[in-house]
């Protein structure tokens, strides 16, 4: 029983289908481990009691044709879940219980999975270390007092720490790939429009995408296959032919052309990141693919562009949290006073900072210089990729410019925190799919990830490349269970 949580999703599905394991066995195992792992602070809300009931119910009448039969799963607390508190990591939604379910989680439950609970994250997904959560830091299973990355920090910690077989996060500027890289797991940010945004607490609507986080590429492909669907309830959802990503997964990438963008060789990048990248290049070559040097000339503008577009949208998206209809409300002398107190007390520092930036860049007199300019640059960044994809099938880069850092290390330096997303942000701005896979360790033994960026709707291709590389890399995550007493 004790090794149940070490099994991959694919193995668990197999074992439940072969009746070697029951949903109850599996659910119990993950609940037990989750309960022993409170020090990680990965959960904001658990739903263990009802998860166990659902597992028993499943076992009484198991539907083994579904893709996630009786599989327990915790999800990021940015997904609205019916009758289960959904906080987005914020005090302002501390008491919010949705009456509805996000499309992505609905897809997961429809395939037989069972909700374990809601995972910690940066407040409104704004952060790169999970330190902005109202519900406290998340510890990385990699090491004590190490950040798991963010904003899907609880999700990354829960998968790496085996508190859930797989999970879903959301990625606006790197929030799936960066924590995946920090914790030695696989994280996919799908093409914008691939997964419905319906029922996901919005951060920046034109960038937000839900995506899978898993122990390995195959699990990641399977979960992506479940969550990706066309949804008329989201006007930006795209109706394209979706693959059976797990079934069609292949490690044959012979003849694929992989672009290596020179602009990702940024100043001050640690040598071990550069070395990792070179190793990655060798791996894809070993797999029979060809690497080609390419240029994405506007890369250096991506981060400033992102920090205009994302806060602008956020400032408007978060206007609804005003104390009037639901969530936290502070007492005020009058309406304006109530607004001011509710939002000052309800939002944390980072969220307030971004609301202020967003409000500023949209304000009359500054709109053209900031927001409009940023939109133009965004188009140029997208053009860079379009141009590159005339020559290559995918692009290989490091996932992050460094490995995970200590809790508190960057709290007072937002710009250095923002720099974490330098390799992931351009992918969101261009609406492309990107996957981070664990590829090695740094000198401290912390995981490092490589990112494969694909053409729009070409998730299958980057999953295949990741699958092939995974085999060559043969990465082993060093989880010591340090937090379990």
């Amino acid at each position: 029983m004790s090794d149940i949580t070490k099994q991959s999703l694919t193995e668990l599905v197999e074992n439940i289908k072969n009746k070697k394991l029951s949903s109850t066995d599996v659910t119990k195992a993950f609940i037990d481990r989750s309960e022993k792992s409170q020090e990680l602070n990965a959960y904001i809300t658990n739903d263990f009691t009802s998860a166990l009931e659902k597992a028993k119910k499943f076992d009484q009448k198991p539907n083994l044709d579904s893709k996630l039969p009786g599989i327990p799963m915790a999800v990021k607390d940015l997904f609205c879940t019916r009758d289960i508190k959904t906080t987005a990591g914020s005090k302002i939604l501390n008491n919010f219980v949705p009456t509805y379910e996000s499309t992505v989680t609905e897809n997961i439950w429809n395939e037989g999975a069972i909700l374990l609970g809601k995972l910690n994250c940066d407040e409104f997904a704004m952060g790169s270390s999970n330190e902005t959560s109202f519900f406290g830091n998340v510890q990385s299973p990699i090491d004590r007092n190490l950040v798991p990355g963010g904003s899907s920090g609880g999700s990354a910690s829960a998968v790496a720490g085996q508190l859930t077989p797989v999970t879903i996060g959301t990625d606006t500027g790197g929030s799936i790939r960066q924590p995946a890289s920090f914790t030695g797991i696989v994280g996919l940010k799908p093409t914008y429009g691939s997964c419905s945004r319906y029922g996901i607490v919005a951060f920046a609507s034109s960038l937000d995408q839900a995506g899978p986080m898993a122990q390995n590429v195959k699990d990641c492909a399977l979960l992506h296959e479940v969550i990706s669907s066309y949804d008329p309830k989201d006007s930006t959802s795209i109706d394209f032919k979706r693959n059976h990503y797990s079934k069609e997964l292949t490690n044959n990438i012979k003849g694929k052309k992989i672009g290596i963008p020179k602009e990702y060789r940024v100043d001050g990048m640690p040598k071990e990141i550069e070395d990792l990248w070179q190793k990655g290049i060798q791996y894809v070559k070993d797999c029979g693919a060809e690497t080609i040097d390419i240029s994405l000339p506007n890369t250096s503008y991506a981060l400033p562009t992102y920090y205009i577009v994302a806060p602008a949208e956020a400032s408007s998206n978060l206007a609804r949290y005003d104390g009037v209809k639901y969530g936290f409300r502070a007492k005020g002398e009058n309406l304006i006073d109530m607004y001011e107190k509710t939002r000052s007390e309800g939002f944390g520092t980072e969220v307030q900072r971004r609301i202020m930036i967003g409000t500023y860049v949209l304000s009359s007199g500054y709109y053209d210089a900031y927001y409009l300019k940023a939109q133009k640059v965004r188009k140029l960044i997208k053009n860079d990729f379009d141009e590159a994809y005339k020559k290559v099938d995918a692009i290989l880069t490091p996932s992050t410019p460094s490995s995970a850092f200590k809790i508190g290390e960057k709290t007072n330096d937002p710009v250095s925190m923002y720099l974490n997303d330098i390799f992931t942000v351009p992918v969101n701005l261009a609406g492309l799919p990107g996957i981070s896979i664990p590829a090695g360790h740094d000198s401290k033994g912390y995981p490092l990830g490589l990112q494969i960026i694909g053409k729009a709707f070409d998730e299958q291709n980057i999953l295949n490349i990741a699958y092939a590389m995974e085999e060559k890399i043969n990465f082993k995550n060093k989880i010591t269970d340090w937090w379990i007493k």
Binding site: P98, Y198, A202, T236, T359, Y367
Partner: protein, 491 residues
Amino acid sequence: MSKKDSEYLINRKDNQYEVVIGLEVHAQVLSESKLFSTSATKFGAEPNTQVSLVDAAFPGMLPVINEFCVKQAIKTGIGLNAKINKRSVFDRKNYFYADLPQGYQISQFKDPIVGEGKVILDMPNGQKEVGIERLHLEQDAGKSIHDLDPQNTFVDLNRSGVALMEIVSKPDLRSPDEVNAYIKKLRSIMRYLGTCDGNMQEGSLRADVNVSVRPKGSKEFGTRCEIKNVNSIKFMQMAIEYEANRQVDLIEEGKTIDQETRLFDTKKNETRSMRSKEDAHDYRYFPDPDLLPLEVSEKFIEELKNDIPELPDDKKKRFIEEFKLSSYEANILVSDIDTAKYFEEVVAKMGKNKDIKLAVNWITGELFAVLNSKGLEISQSPVSAKNFAILINLIKNGTISGKIAKTVFELMIDGDKDPQKIVEEKGLKQQSDPKALEALIDKIINDNREKAIEYKQGKEKLFGFFVGQAMKASGGKANPQLINEILKKKL
């Protein structure tokens, strides 16, 4: 103030001022569901019973455009002879208010769905063209109710998210009368199209009124003030009159006019400053990232064009040509779609040998009088077009006289009775048998020999006396035309 040659000017000492008015009309799109959600839009429902998660801006909720509302806006654009933009963009207009759940209104700012157009007004001194600047789609806000509780404000979100068309005119209007004609024309066009019910009592049509003044003959515009949210034509006219005079007074005193937003106080009949330009909201408009730009094809627009009914201007033209009506008569009949419908149904039911002039006179005379006195719309007319047509035919073919017809009409009102039956049951049929009438007239002439002689001697006025006697003797039923003919012959 004077109205020389129907020009609306404001006079002060030696100076004359012209008033320049532009309107932003908010017309509620006639649609069963809201602009971005499937909630119902019925007027007068219990508070907060027509609210979806989207309308109340719950976390993670997303807007999905209602195609029907888009069609309605395009149809209205076609009705306003306007350019339909194949690509338009929904923007967010950001501001905080308790009845604005999202914290922003989804509207169209830079790229509206409909561009420039025009409407023609029929004014007493001729036609006047008013330019349309644009028409865009936007969401309505909810309603704050401040008077139900001493401490709290209540919010009703039934209206939140209802589709509105904002129709912006060019500053082409010059008087309260033109504003009256303009609003009525817009309402008429939209009612013909079925895109807005135009019901001002229910708030389906309201306007922001921009007013400025300038010395007569000046080409430059004065500083304008915007009077917000006026919900009746009468109030618009009163507000304009007050505001224009206020501005003229300021100029005459050598003061300047501040560009500002004002409110019209209907109780005191005055406009009051609401906020100055400096205090104006910064709405931080930007394209709504939850919605893709709205793109419509040429084919989509063409199909809607084919779906456009005959509009008031065309109908008027046709009525004048086909039915030989005067411009004045045609105007009365076409201005309200239900009147036009009624009239056309009457015409159709009258059959071949019809007297259209007579029908028009009866509609605008007797029928309108009855509707007025009963406070009814023509769509609620107690007399159906079918029975009305029969009545007109009875007059036309001489079965009853116009005078008797009035009696019959009175009887028809109660239960939409068939006039033919009334005439038969009450024996009101006109006497048109020449022999019977001759006998009757012979008797009258015999009984009034002296008067007959006087008439023959030249006292022509006495002809009326004989007609009266004949009508009286027949109980009002004699055919007056035949009476005339026979009397002329016999006297």
